[in-house]
């Protein structure tokens, strides 16, 4: 027998500071303008796979449903195509809000497990922070190792073909003065 989770929400389940935090992020101020018309969800080309529609993400963010929002697949499916924002009748900066939520999800390690996109984002950031430049092979390798080890084995033939055609260089490039980059990045993070 499966356990039955509680679905009702007590105010103590919700995080009232969460919405303030999101709203304080530059570009996310007008989250309050949303009248919940759902046009964003309908305009979104990816909403086909989302667990919560973009409209619902906004509603939940506004009401402090921190856990649900940060662990939602929706954030990581967002392709940043800006369709929602372009058509939003209230001019809410939905894409910016999605970015802010993604950052929080990574910070708080709340993103859905076994889901490649947040891992990709994290690995990319870690790698670039360290070397100043991306190296596709190493980033992709890290992501698949974490997300689906078995899949990595299956991908070997493709990887091999790409390697011999020099489409997936193994060489790690790096820039000079990576320490300065780190300072810049940590300053930026401090701001966010």
């Amino acid at each position: 027998m499966i356990p039955i989770p509680r679905t009702i929400k007590y105010e103590s389940d919700l995080d009232h500071a969460f919405r303030e935090k999101i709203m304080a992020t530059q570009g996310c101020e007008n989250i309050w303008s949303c009248i919940q018309c759902g046009l964003c969800s309908a305009a979104c080309p990816i909403s086909i796979y989302m667990d919560y529609t973009p409209r619902k993400i906004i509603a939940m963010t506004r009401e402090g449903f921190r856990e649900e929002v940060l662990s939602s697949r929706t954030l990581w499916l967002c392709a940043s195509c800006y369709a929602c924002e372009a058509y939003c009748p209230q001019n809410v900066n939905i894409t910016e809000i999605m970015y802010a939520l993604k950052r929080h999800a990574i910070e708080e390690k709340k993103y859905p497990r076994n889901f490649p996109i947040p891992e990709l984002a994290k690995s990319f950031f870690t790698y670039v922070k360290a070397h100043g430049r991306n190296a596709e092979f190493w980033v992709v390798f890290r992501v698949w190792r974490k997300v689906a080890l078995l899949r990595l084995v299956k991908m070997f033939p493709l990887g091999w073909r790409l390697l011999i055609r020099r489409r997936l260089p193994l060489r790690r490039e790096r820039i000079r003065h990576t320490r300065q980059l780190k300072t810049i990045l940590s300053n930026l993070n401090g701001e966010v």
Partner: protein, 668 residues
Amino acid sequence: MASKNGDIPRIGVYVCHCGTNIGGQVNVPEVVAFARTLPNVVVAREYKYMCSDPGQMLIKEDIQKLNINRVVVASCSPHLHEHTFRKATLEGGRNPFLFHMANIREHVSWVTQDPEKATEKAKAIVEAAVYRIQFHEPLESKHVPVHPDVLIVGGGIAGITAALTLADAGKTVYLIERESSIGGHMAKFDKTFPTLDCASCILTPKMTTVKDHPNIHLMTYAEVLEVDGYVGNFRVKVKKKPRYVIEDRCIGCYVCIEHCVYKTPKHPSEFDEGIGLRKPIYIPFPQAVPLVAVIDPETCIEFKSGRCPKKCQKACREIVGRDAIDFTQKEEILEIQVGAVIIATGFQIFDPSRIPEYGYGRYPNVYTSLEVERLVNASGPTGGAIVLRDGRKPQSVAIIHCVGSRDRNYNPWCSRVCCMYSLKLAHLVRERTGAEVYNCYIDMRTPGKGYEEFYEKLLHEGVHFIRGKVAEVTDWTINPEEAGKLVIRVEDSLIGVVRRIPVDMVILSVGLEPRSDAEELRRLFHISCSAEGWFLERHPKLAPVSTYTDGVYIAGACQGPKDIPDAVAQAGAAAGEVLSLVDRGVIELEPNIAVIDARRCSGCHVCIALCPFSAIAFHAEENVARINEALCKGCGVCVGACPSRAISQQLFKDEQILAEIEGLLMVD
């Protein structure tokens, strides 16, 4: 066949094509040819549009050249052009009631599929008209003069607006208000949406203008007792309740109130919705008009025991020198005569104690929206401070929309103003307390000029909007966060979860209802109510302020829930109708009324009881019933009911109707 009035009927029949409206379906030439064969028909013609000037000219010329003395036009509904052709008949030189209209458009061409059958039906209808018209007699329309004075019942914003418009036009207005001051509900509000204008700042000048206007007779603390008469000539009896304070002498100085034996106010103030207290002698609010004290005999010791030292009276006499208090005052009955009446008696709020789940009356911190209006009002009992019953400032407030509205268990209608006033209260609460405010609504209804923009302003102020109707307000708590609070249970339907929200204060946005005594007023003025109890307008689209009783108009929320601009617009419209009536000066009475043959009347009273317009009175001396021509609407109820066949109806006499039926049956 000679007609009853001796002349030989010479009938002209005119069949209209109405473009292709009739002509496309009915074989008009065939109908015309058929008409020519009918008895006493001298001429029959067809025309593309009989209502056009050349069409009418045909009739006028035939009357003059062929000496036609009866006219039948077969065309559209009499609602459309009866007036037109009666006029043409008159201009031709005949009494306009020697005309009859046969409707072969709405009754034939528009509703019949088969052209052949349509033509047959058209013939039958024309034949019926030709048979009928032989029995038509010349009738004279009577005219009665219109008394130029006007009665307005209700001194809220609608009544005030109508009174000022009429008084400025130079008409004498009697404004009757049941409470001791005019102002109505609007006087209780702090701000008005969406501009957040101070309600009394815009209302008070109007109220004082009413009082000072030379053309307005203001009667407060008064009620209509009896109404008699008809459009242009109403006689109205008004009861002035005793205030036990002589209005002309009182200067509203508050000295009597200060000297009342009650040192502090102990009785719930009606004006303050029970949130504030008053003494037995009181002035309901500082801007009251007239600014005159009133004694409530229910709470005054003198009236209850007769053993009060009457310090108030002494103070008035000795300190103010006005001697305005008179414990022996009696109610007064006044009679006034007016030509028209505007009813603007407004609404009452839904009593939320009818919904036990919301705990109103059980939990002290559950308020009605009107109570909160007094609470936020700068001149209210708390001086505008929003505090709970124990004096604490609320840190979270829930506003529940649609309380008693959109609910078949209570009132099925939408009360139209609650969404907007809930937003206004949300704004005021947030502005003055910084509390978290939760608005629980079903549909956000903000469809007015600047209203959507106001909704957006509220969104930006950080007010929570939860789409869901609250099921319950309870003090049963289940976690420490909820302790000592009221908890609302609501589905956040746009997220799809049920939420429990603990709050300090709950505001119930109560709906608007017809006043509980609307039915009595309805009967007094012979107007109608809809099933819900709102006064019924003559036509929901095109006559929104008229009633089925000529000369009686309605304005404002007594006709249905309405916000201030809509009530004001209606009041202006009602004033416009009244001015139009009074400026016309006379009323033409349709002559198709019932008449009693006094020789046949047995005085049995049957007709009197049945007449829906109270148009029949009993004439005791002659022992017969008599019909007031101005009141009779020609409905025919009395005609059918009279056991002595003493009543007949002009234009619908037995012989006319029977001839019509006979004609209708002649074509097979």
